[in-house]
């Protein structure tokens, strides 16, 4: 059985939608970060699938996917550092506890 480009794009769209839903609905900062990672994975899958089916001889999409992964790993690392610093003050990582800034 041949699996086409559409199957990969569909799976990636589902993952992206799940991640987006999680990022917008979860109350814990750590869960939001995990949802963001899920979106990053969806993008990576998209890029690699396009690379395989659209430009099989050039590796552009795969190179793009690797760069995107490294950047999102760095960003998540930084975000966790901020979350830990917040936890030291507030003893909580719930986003609902972060409502000092309003207006």
């Amino acid at each position: 059985m041949n699996i086409g480009l559409e199957a990969f794009l569909g799976l990636s769209a589902v993952l992206f939608a799940l991640g987006l839903y999680g990022a917008l609905s979860k109350r814990s900062a750590v869960m939001v970060l995990m949802s963001l990672e899920l979106m990053a994975v969806a993008v990576g899958l998209n890029l690699v699938a396009f690379s395989r089916f659209v430009t099989p001889e050039a590796m552009t999409g795969q190179a793009f996917a690797i760069f995107a992964m490294v950047v999102s790993a760095a960003e998540i690392g930084l975000a966790l550092a901020i979350v830990i610093a917040i936890y030291r003050h507030a003893r909580s990582v719930e986003l609902s506890a972060l409502e000092r800034l309003k207006g």
């Binding site: 963001l36 979106m39 969806a42 998209n46 552009t60 960003e75 800034l101 309003k102």
Partner: protein, 466 residues
């Protein structure tokens, strides 16, 4: 300057950042680090100015252009002014050498961003310009407000970055290339999917430029952060962001419907920004909403340029306004960092430090757009492009909201010049210590605001206006 000399400014600034990371070992620590970095930025300015336009290096990953050279000079000079100010004021209660390093890394990303003509390089440069900004916003690690603002900034910024990345993957998939020029050729034939990919891509940049409806991070994050960080984050990375948005819109201009997206974002930003700024009592929050509004004015130029099928005037007007807006904005935030965060803290500034109060008046007047200062000519060029493109309704919103904006800017003026002394809050520290380098930074910003206004035609010619 040709060939690999094009990236010499980036190399100089990166070296400065690496030196700043070891600022502990320099004699004089914070002050020496900031002054040395400011000197390096000025040196890099000279190299950036000498770049030959239209040269491509690294197989077309980076391409120089006249607007990019002007933007690079503006980025480096604004950073130098900020560092000069930081060298004497620093961050109250924190060491500032790491902030210097973070700012310089962000500048490296911003400089790369001005030259990118390819998606992968663009994405990496954009993230390099913003990741240090999160750290600057949460720089006081013992201050929960700053950390909360930084986390909010991070979450929305990363979410929109990923949406943009999803859009970029479709741009690449639809066209089979990551170079802007080839994307522009292939994109008009892709129909609705191309429009969706383009809109997803622009979401990321709208959020970095705090354009409505993706501006929610800005007020909270600015109000929690140290004003000195806000001065940098709200101006320098934004300059590069505007230029890359212009490059992307140039690649997207063949898609039908794109000017409506830009016009909608412009109208929403101008209305939401200006109306929300009216009731603010914290100057940082007020300036955050004013930044949203000014991004709205910028988008008029882009919408106009796309509506006439790629008019160079609109793109140049947008570039000019980005520079004209960022100089006063940086200077006002530096004064806020000296005087205190709320509008009431400005009370009596005219008697305490008369020349700073008059300089503030000039910057605020420039933001409103009164001649002969930089902001007036910027708005004039933008509104002209909008009218020529037949977007009269958008220009009307721009003019009306500019008048509304005078109301909240003049609240600051009233506090400085007219408010009775009893309205002033108790000042714990009393006088702001005199400092020659901080004053020099403000004077340079004042001269630049006047010079960009009086010499507007010279700047436009340097940008490539014919």
């Amino acid at each position: 300057m040709t060939g690999y000399w094009l990236i010499a400014p980036e190399v100089i600034v990166t070296l400065g950042a690496l030196i700043a990371l070891f600022g502990n070992m320099l004699p004089g620590k914070d002050r020496t680090t900031a002054l040395l970095s400011a000197a390096l930025c000025v040196g890099a300015t000279a190299v950036a100015w000498l770049a030959t336009p239209g040269e491509a290096i690294f197989g077309g990953l980076l391409t120089s252009s006249a607007p990019a050279s002007v933007m690079r000079v503006a980025i480096l000079l604004l950073t130098a002014v900020w560092l000069l100010w930081l060298s004497s004021r620093g961050y109250e209660g924190e060491r500032s050498r790491e902030a210097v390093a973070m700012a310089l890394f962000s500048v490296t990303g911003a400089l790369l961003l001005t030259h990118t003509t390819e998606l992968i390089t663009m994405f990496i440069a954009l993230e390099l310009a913003t990741i240090p900004a999160y750290m600057l916003m949460g720089y006081r690690r013992r201050d929960i407000h700053g950390l909360e603002g930084a986390l909010k900034y991070f979450l929305l910024s990363m979410l929109t970055s990923l949406i943009m990345l999803y859009g970029l993957s479709f741009l690449y998939g639809l066209t089979g290339t990551t170079h802007f020029g080839q994307i522009a050729e292939a994109l008009p034939g892709t129909g609705t999917l191309g429009l969706i990919a383009a809109v997803l891509t622009m979401v990321g940049l709208f959020s970095k430029l705090s354009a409505a409806p993706f501006h929610f991070w800005a007020p909270d994050s600015y109000a929690g952060a140290p004003a000195a960080s806000v001065a940098f984050v709200s101006t320098v990375p934004k300059l590069a962001g505007v230029l890359v948005l212009i490059h992307l819109v140039q690649a997207f201009q063949g898609i039908p419907g794109i000017e409506l997206v830009l016009a909608f974002a412009a109208a929403a930003s101008m209305l939401l920004g200006n109306l929300s700024a009216l009731g603010q009592t914290d100057t940082r929050r007020l300036m955050a909403y004013s930044g949203v509004a000014h991004t709205g004015y910028l988008l008029i130029g882009l919408a106009g340029a796309v509506a006439v099928g790629g008019g160079q005037e609109g793109y140049l007007a947008t570039t000019f306004y980005a520079i004209a807006y960022s100089i006063p904005s940086l200077a006002i935030m530096l004064v806020v960092a000296e005087e205190g965060d709320s509008v009431a803290d400005m009370t009596g500034l005219a008697t305490r430090r008369p020349w700073v109060a008059w300089a503030m008046l000039a910057w605020l007047v420039s933001l409103i757009g009164i001649p002969p200062l930089a902001g007036f000519f910027g708005k004039l060029y933008l509104f002209e492009t909008g009218l020529e493109a037949g977007l009269a309704w958008l220009v009307l919103i721009g003019v009306v909201t500019s008048i509304i904006s005078a109301a909240y800017y003049f609240r600051i003026v009233r506090a400085m010049f007219l408010a009775p002394a009893e309205e002033a809050p108790d000042r714990p520290a009393g006088e702001v210590a005199a400092s020659r380098s901080a004053d020099a930074a403000l004077v340079i910003a004042l001269v630049a605001t006047v010079a960009v206004g009086v010499g507007a035609s010279l700047v436009m010619r340097a940008l490539g206006w014919v």
